[in-house]
């Protein structure tokens, strides 16, 4: 994936979330803005036979994986045209046929699941690997340590990606994790690990690609820690606890501005081209919103369907 495609993918997530945030029916959301480079960089390392799982912060991962923004928006707004018929929402968004096995909104809850998906894909010889993006908030959970252990023992084709935005809602990582870095957790299990600047999409892409190659080769799991920033509150229902200065410092690391600047510096992006790309992204988001709004709401009868 070249730099222009990476930039467009990040812009698409940002514009999508801005459009969603303005919508009166947006409801309870966790936004990926600020953390676009993690999702986009990791997805650049994945192929069509791979599967991606994510935490409940799923909008960035799902769009980066290439899901149609219209059906994603429909799912988030509770419409029947969503891939989960509007029954999963953001917390449980999934479209496995498109390589997005799905989000799971319990912190750490998708980790053991991802190990199981990896086991099944290897036993069924599907040829793909599994990537699982989780927040640093999951690093203290037993599920991560159990997953690291079994994935290493069984050499599962699993790329674990810690999207480290530094906060479990209001609790800073320093107060939630004894290890200095999330990547240190992989070492006792003999799992190959790397730490990158999660606001540098090129660094994420390159590290993810190298670790994915290791996993594809059958050498077992790998662990990528991405130091990132979230630009908004934990969720639309949560109070912000960071100072204005801290928020400004976070926003100053914007992965979109950073990539655009380096592309301009190297003559790869004309001054007016970024505005054009931003307009395209906003148009695509508006079109996704129109599709969702034109879609019928999920039928009430769906509460009885697909239960057992």
């Amino acid at each position: 994936m070249d730099r222009r495609a990476l930039l467009a993918s990040m812009l698409a997530i940002r514009a999508f979330e801005e459009a969603l945030a303005r919508h009166p029916d947006a409801g309870f959301q966790l936004f990926s803005s600020g953390e676009e480079a993690v999702a986009v960089g990791v997805c650049a390392a994945l192929g069509p036979h791979d599967q991606l799982l994510s935490s409940g912060r799923s909008i960035g991962p799902a769009l980066a994986r290439g899901l149609d923004p219209g059906v994603v928006m429909a799912e988030l707004l509770g419409r029947a045209t969503g891939p989960c018929k509007g029954k999963g929402g953001r917390g449980h968004l999934a479209q496995p046929a498109a390589g997005f096995f799905g989000a799971h909104a319990v912190v750490g809850g998708n980790l053991t699941i991802a190990a199981g998906v990896a086991l099944a894909m290897r036993m069924r010889r599907t040829g793909g690997i599994v990537a699982c993006i989780f927040g640093d908030g999951a690093c203290g959970s037993g599920a991560l340590h159990e997953t690291l252990n079994i994935a290493a023992l069984w050499k599962l084709p699993l790329l674990l990606v810690c999207d480290d935005n530094g906060w479990s809602i209001s609790t800073p990582r320093e107060a939630a994790l004894a290890a200095r870095s999330p990547a240190d957790l992989a070492a006792p299990f003999g799992i190959r690990a790397a730490s990158v600047d999660g606001m540098d999409v090129i660094a994420v892409r390159d590290a993810a690609t190298a670790l994915a190659a290791h996993v594809r080769g059958g050498a077992g799991p790998a662990f990528l820690a991405c130091d990132a920033e979230r630009f908004s509150t934990h969720s639309t229902a949560t109070r912000e606890t960071r100072s204005r200065e801290a928020m400004e410092a976070a926003r100053a690391r914007c992965p979109i501005r950073r990539l655009a600047q380096s592309m301009r510096d190297e003559g790869e992006l004309r001054e007016d081209a970024l505005a054009t790309l931003e307009r395209d992204a906003a148009d695509a988001a508006a079109s996704a919103l129109r599709f969702a709004e034109r879609s019928p709401p999920t039928d009430i009868d769906e509460i009885r369907r697909d239960v057992d």
């Binding site: 969503g82 029954k87 096995f101 053991t112 199981g116 159990e146 069984w154």
Partner: protein, 331 residues
């Protein structure tokens, strides 16, 4: 008259046979859990399967139930048909997040895109192992939308419900019992699966219906023998599946007898018996009813305390006598 040949088998053998046949038929069936490999399972219910199917399909796991269940549920979602063995039902608590928050909801939350055809087998019941190794928690799980719960009491049902559970499309919790493993019973040469959601009249009778499951079927039977000596005739309905519950079979029995005793080894509060009693009452209207279950106390490993905590045949017989002495709806 059936000409089918039958053999006497132990409960554990029936489970191993169902699993062996399913694994031979379907390469997607795998076994995950603690001591399921060469050791053959805590009760030898996996005996011979590792030798036959190897490390790849019979996988010992670390004693870490969250990953046992999570890996099983995830593998099921991605196309395998795993059986996850949780040695004692008490430990299923450590794996409830992937089972309840993910597996039970997967078909629903993905709008039918994914399913989790996994069987979580766990061993309930008290046999001298103390407060955290003796519980019967099936009512908890029966209360979760998206889970099915089965609890066989005979080797034939242990076989037939295992076959059905492995073929089912959603998570099935298969509850066996420490005190049932040493029991034997008949199993046909070509046994049929036992459909999930179908109770059975285990002992026909006229005067009272005892609705129960798992090891308590044997306690009910012992009580029924004592009562028969006094001319009281008990009909025992073995629920076999706790969700979806076969209310019709129990209700048909109670419509004949007019009296219902529910009997379980788990707690009475919010128990299987409460659910059975209420739903049967909705079907048949007036009836006499009493619930029996464990005392509201932990189940000690001290044998005197354990026995006093759980329903015994004499307790069941006494409850039946009191019930039959009472007028309808007095209880």
């Amino acid at each position: 008259m059936s000409t089918e040949r039958v053999a006497k088998v132990f409960f554990a053998e029936a489970i191993a046979r169902a699993l062996g046949e399913a694994m031979a038929r379907d390469p997607r069936v795998v076994i995950l859990g603690q001591d399921v490999g060469r050791f053959g399972g805590a009760y030898r219910e996996f005996a011979g399967l590792h030798a036959r199917f190897g490390d790849e399909r019979v996988r010992d796991m670390p004693v870490a139930e969250a990953s046992m269940v999570g890996v099983g549920v995830g593998a099921a979602a991605a196309g395998l048909r795993p059986l996850v063995s949780i040695t004692y039902m008490d430990f299923v608590m450590l794996g409830l997040d992937p089972l309840v928050n993910y597996g039970a909801k997967l078909r629903y939350k993905t709008g039918g895109q994914l399913t989790a055809p996994v069987v979580v087998k766990c061993t309930a019941g008290a046999k001298g192992q103390g407060v955290a190794h003796s519980q019967s928690l099936e009512s908890w799980l029966a209360g979760v939308a998206g889970l099915k719960v089965v609890a066989p009491s005979t080797p034939a049902d242990a076989y037939g419900l295992m076959v059905a559970a492995l073929a089912d499309g959603g998570p099935v919790v298969y509850v066996d019992h420490k005190r049932l493993f040493p029991t034997a019973g008949e199993l046909a040469d070509a046994p049929a699966p036992v459909p999930i959601g179908r109770a059975i009249v285990r002992r026909p009778g006229r005067d009272v219906t005892i609705a129960t499951h798992s090891y308590m079927c044997r306690v009910a039977d012992a009580a029924a023998d004592r009562l028969a000596a006094d001319g009281i005739s008990c009909e025992i309905v073995d629920l076999r599946t706790l969700w979806p519950l076969d209310v019709a079979t129990v209700a048909a029995s109670v419509a004949r007898t007019g009296a219902l005793v529910t009997l379980e080894e788990g707690q009475l509060a919010c128990g299987i018996g409460s659910e059975v009693a209420f739903r049967v009452r909705e079907e048949v209207g007036r009836m006499r009813v009493v619930r029996l279950g464990a005392a509201r106390a932990p189940v000690s490993g001290n044998p005197r305390l354990e026995a006093a905590t759980l329903p015994r045949p004499d307790d069941v017989a006494a409850a039946v006598r009191r019930l039959l002495d009472a007028k309808a709806d007095e209880r």
